[in-house]
């Protein structure tokens, strides 16, 4: 099993410590220009024996002790600072493994920051992130720390509203004025087009040489690579669960639903208790309905069923998807989403959830941060559960997807600095801890939760995902990994289904039709994966 549904044991597993040979295969960002075979082994080099000099004359990373190296970006090379002379990263890893320290030990070693950009000539680096201007996230703080450690590197962080991001990024890249690093989507469509146009730097050399391959789970690599090259570093793992108000449940004599029938019963009981919207759904925003679609389609078809459509000859109008869509409509028709979910805005829904006006909401852990802001200590009144299997006896597949991918501009004159910054932000122990504690992001790869102070609800959400991960995972956001044209018809179609203006059969047929058109144009995900020899 491979690909989406086959992504097993990622967070909290052995995947983060795979050893030297990394052969990651599965779906990836698809360049439009050619179709590639589903399985493809990408050749690599023996980095134990490779030793190449820094070729990029403009790199500020000049005083480098070359210990190991890797394949290069076109003519670029990579050189590294080694804090522990005479010990290569590989040896460090081997020693760590031998001592049985596992991935946590690796994280600790990384925490000592063995790779550091030394003082040198001034380097300017611009980063564009999706988010509201002025947003303060863990990233801002981590990047500030990076600049303190590397005073010669001046990082400018700019946030763009998500709707403005692509319309700004594309012309800027075309004009040669784009950011040096940007965080964007990793699905097919625009990211693939950007890669195809040569704007993104191949990060594979850094992936292998800096040991990212030891940390980034295979499933994440698959979605940020194509043609054997890593194009982006996935910044976080996102999953969706059902958050609920424990107090309201207790007051109404309800326990956590473990079967679909119990969920429906809870829905009815809460309605009778005066909660017009037992399960919050901001249908006006469209994407929250797509979260339900992702969940139910995945639950009905299973990881293999989804993979079969994404990378095989399966179809979105198969019976499993029709039934899953009918189940969503059933939930809506029973009034679980309130009298008119299409009139609801997701932000309002979540705010009302924290105010205790809505007992349940199916969303991701990113709402916890705002929740703590809203209710403070009252956060302990809330918890989460996995949505029960819609078909009795079927397994629970947790949802999981990448947040965004961080790309480096191929035209940036200091790629080593960009890679060093990515290394600092995503793979340094303290950075990962900061991300976790902020509640903004769950870093990719194995998590060392022992030294992190996390709210109980965050720990519960992690536990929920880990508990069922052995069953295989399904997409949390099908809309981000399917072609934009399919997302468009899905969004409108899902609204139409909830409104009773489109049958589940017609909806799945429409989606399949859009899917076929996109496939014909090579606008779908193709196999990804990166091999480090």
């Amino acid at each position: 099993m491979n690909g989406v549904g086959g992504r097993k044991s990622e967070v909290g597993s052995e995947a983060a410590f795979r050893g030297d040979a990394c052969v990651a295969r599965g779906p990836g960002i698809a360049p439009n220009h050619e179709h590639r075979p589903v399985w493809k082994r990408i050749g690599g080099v023996d980095r134990d024996h490779a030793e190449i000099e820094e070729i990029n004359p403009q790199s500020p990373v000049r005083r480098r002790h070359i210990e190991e190296d890797a394949t290069v970006n076109d003519e670029r090379s990579l050189t590294l600072v080694r804090g522990t002379r005479g010990m290569t990263r590989r040896r460090l890893l081997r020693r760590g493994a031998a001592l049985g320290l596992g991935a946590s030990a690796l994280a600790s070693l990384r925490g000592n920051r063995v790779f550091a950009v030394q003082e040198g000539e001034p380097v300017a680096l611009t980063i564009w992130l999706e988010g509201e201007p002025g947003a303060v996230t863990a990233f801002s703080e981590i990047i500030d720390e990076y600049m303190q450690e590397n005073p010669n590197v001046d990082v400018t962080l700019t946030f763009f509203g998500s709707d403005l991001f692509n319309p700004t990024l594309v012309p800027a890249l075309n004009a040669g004025e784009g950011p040096d690093i940007w965080a964007g989507g990793t699905g097919p469509g625009q990211p693939a087009a950007i890669i195809e146009a040569g704007h993104a730097l191949d990060l594979s050399p850094y992936f292998c040489a800096l040991g990212w391959n030891e940390i980034i789970p295979e499933g994440i690599v698959n979605y940020t690579s194509s043609d054997g090259k890593l194009w982006a570093v996935g910044d976080s793992v996102e999953s969706t669960v059902m958050f609920y108000n424990k107090e309201i449940f207790e007051q109404n004599g309800l326990g956590v639903p473990v079967t679909w029938d119990e969920l429906m019963t809870a829905c009815g009981t809460l309605q009778s208790a005066g909660f017009a919207m037992p399960i919050g759904l901001g249908g006006a925003d469209k994407y929250p309905i797509s979260w339900w679609q992702s969940l139910l389609w995945g639950r009905y078809a299973g990881p293999e069923g989804i993979d079969n459509v994404m990378f095989g000859d399966g179809r979105w109008d198969e019976e499993a998807f029709v039934q899953a869509t009918a189940k969503l409509k059933e939930l809506n028709d029973a009034g679980c989403f309130g009298p008119n979910a299409l009139a609801e805005i997701q932000n309002n829904v979540e705010a009302r959830f924290w105010r205790g006006e809505i007992p349940m909401v199916h969303t991701g852990p990113w709402i916890i941060g705002p929740g703590i802001d809203a209710v403070g200590e009252g956060i302990n009144k809330f918890s989460a559960f996995q949505v029960p299997p819609p078909v009795a006896g079927t397994p629970i597949y947790p949802t999981e997807d990448i947040g965004t991918g961080w790309y480096v501009n191929a035209a940036y004159e200091h790629p080593d600095v960009a890679a060093d910054l990515l290394d600092f932000v995503f793979f340094r122990d303290e950075s990962r801890q900061k991300m976790l504690e902020s509640g903004d992001n769950v870093p990719v790869g194995e998590l060392d939760l022992e030294n992190v102070e996390l709210p109980v609800i965050v720990q519960e959400v992690f536990a929920l995902s880990n508990e069922y991960r052995q069953n295989g995972t399904i997409h949390a956001f099908l809309d981000t990994v399917t072609p934009a044209s399919m997302t468009d018809v899905s969004y409108d179609g899902l609204q139409a289904v909830l409104a009773g203006q489109m049958s589940p059969e017609d909806f799945t047929a429409t989606v399949q039709s859009a899917w076929e058109a996109a496939k014909a144009e090579n606008e779908h995900l193709l196999p990804g994966g990166v091999t480090c020899s």
Binding site: L342, E344, I345, A484
Partner: protein, 314 residues
């Protein structure tokens, strides 16, 4: 200082129009200076308005994802697709409905508000400020306000229930039958302050002796409004209509921030469709074709409006 006779001044202008041979050196210099003053703005206009506009027209003949180096010349294919695209026609229909609502609201409510303010009521400045505030407010802020107003548990529904009109409550943004006009009214609220100011300025320019004479003749307030105010505001009304029309056709932010064209495309207008096709679907060629169509529609509507006014003048 001797005043130049009017007829001589006209004569000198005519001489200038006759051509280079008839131009005196001083007149030439005067024109040159005028053109020099215009030149910087003209250059900015060419670079930042004209060139991108022409480029958009040009892009409409290509199949391009907006990023890749290769663009494929497809001739009129994007326009052919446009004519056969049911979503385009649906969006156009919505744009027209939207325009009618916005123009009618701006004109009707704007005229009524301006007439009230022209009567020197108490707190006039406060009212003027209140009407104009949404005009200077960021449109996204206004959109957010209306999202709250129209929410199922929002101000509008709560207010209706308080007034005993609970039967009128609904999920405004999710109700296919009312969502388009509801958002159009919200959008009008953003623009009608400007209409009020323009109309008020127009009303203040009307000769008060006309009203005095009408009063002497026994005309009431209504008669004076329809027989003096409205005819005197003809040009002003044309400007108000023109501004509201252009604004209505290119509306984007309030729809995008509230419904993104939903539910089920019931609020899809040309500009949101253009955005989706261009920037979300990466079909810059087709998106440009929609932009061209939108520009042509606004151009035709504006010319029609001006022509009708000219005919009225005749």
């Amino acid at each position: 200082m001797a005043v130049q006779p009017y007829s001589r001044s006209i004569e000198s202008l005519r001489a200038a129009q006759r051509g280079r041979s008839g131009l005196s050196r001083s007149v030439l210099q005067r024109y040159l200076v005028a053109y020099l003053f215009i030149l910087p703005v003209l250059l900015l206009y060419v670079v930042f308005v004209l060139r991108p506009t022409l480029q958009t027209f040009w892009l409409a003949f290509y199949d391009w994802n907006g990023i890749s180096v290769d663009r494929e010349w497809v001739g009129l294919a994007n326009f052919q697709r446009l004519l056969a695209d049911p979503i385009f026609w649906q969006a156009l229909q919505h744009s027209l409905i939207w325009t009618v609502v916005v123009v009618a609201f701006n004109l009707a409510v704007g005229l009524a508000a301006a007439a009230l303010l022209a009567g020197n009521i108490r707190g006039r400045l406060l009212f003027q400020l209140g009407y104009f505030l949404p005009v200077v407010q960021a449109s996204i802020v206004t959109a957010m306000i209306w999202r709250w107003i129209y929410a199922p548990t929002g101000v509008l529904n709560t207010g209706l229930e308080t007034l005993g009109l609970g039967f009128l409550t609904r999920g405004w943004l999710g109700d296919f039958t009312v969502v388009l006009p509801a958002l159009a009214i919200a959008s009008s609220w953003m623009t009608f302050g400007l209409s009020v100011v323009i109309l008020l300025a127009g009303m203040q320019g009307i000769d008060p002796t006309l009203y005095d004479a009408a009063r002497v003749d026994g005309a009431g307030a209504g008669r004076m409004f329809f027989d003096i105010t409205i005819p005197s505001l003809r040009n002003t009304i044309t400007i108000v209509i023109l501004l509201a029309l252009v604004d209505a056709f290119k509306v984007f932010d309030i729809i995008w921030a509230t419904t993104e064209g939903g539910p089920i495309r019931t609020t899809e207008v040309l500009s949101t469709y253009l955005f989706k096709e261009g920037f979300q679907q990466n079909q810059y060629g087709y998106g440009s074709a929609i932009a061209v169509a939108l520009s042509l529609i606004i151009l035709v509507a504006s010319i029609l409006n001006l022509t009708l006014r000219e005919r009225g003048d005749d």
